[in-house]
Symmetry: C2
Subunit: 129 residues, 2 copies
Amino acid sequence: MAATAEQINATIDAYVAAFSAGDRGGYLALWAPDATVEDPVGSDVAVGADGIAAFWDGVRALASDIELQRTGDARVAAGEAALPLRAITAIGDMTLSVDIIDVMAFDDEGRITSLRAFWDPANMAPYEG
Amino acid sequence: MAATAEQINATIDAYVAAFSAGDRGGYLALWAPDATVEDPVGSDVAVGADGIAAFWDGVRALASDIELQRTGDARVAAGEAALPLRAITAIGDMTLSVDIIDVMAFDDEGRITSLRAFWDPANMAPYEG
């Protein structure tokens, strides 16, 4: 049985909340074993609990505060989902935002098995609230 | 060289225009050889020119008029893109809409090499223009 839309949306909400709160443990609890993260698309793929923990630490070293906002409905199909997000982050003295689409796959317990994040660092722009 | 964001957005605009105009030839000209279409995600994958032509004909047999609207920016990364769309279609006496996210990959000439369309037929709703 593929994860249901309800399971998938609950996991996405938990993902956005943990990411925005800087909740490393909550974030790392969301993944299936051997899950993969490619963020942004085209970068090296992080694999498994250790790889995803290292990815988290690397992101947080660049930007300790990151707020994720869901900017539209997740489109769910066959245990996968694509969803629009905005990330708002403080880097140095600047507050920047960028629009993202995350593509995620889920196991039958609703854990994330893969994440591919579509965004372009060149599109980061001053945040205008 | 991966396709540029400009190439990718031009192909997406041509895709939306051809789809909305019912322009079968224009639509079929947008694909690389051996391209794949999975629409919606989880359905059988159409492969190559003949497969994609059969996919087009099958869709048009269900709904002769389909308007696609881009509802946000394409997020482009490493020769791929994810973009939000709305499809508006007349089926019988009803006008229905559904929100979609298309994930596309492109060759270095900007032709589409794969398309995965995230949407759920259960989310089709009366169009409220």
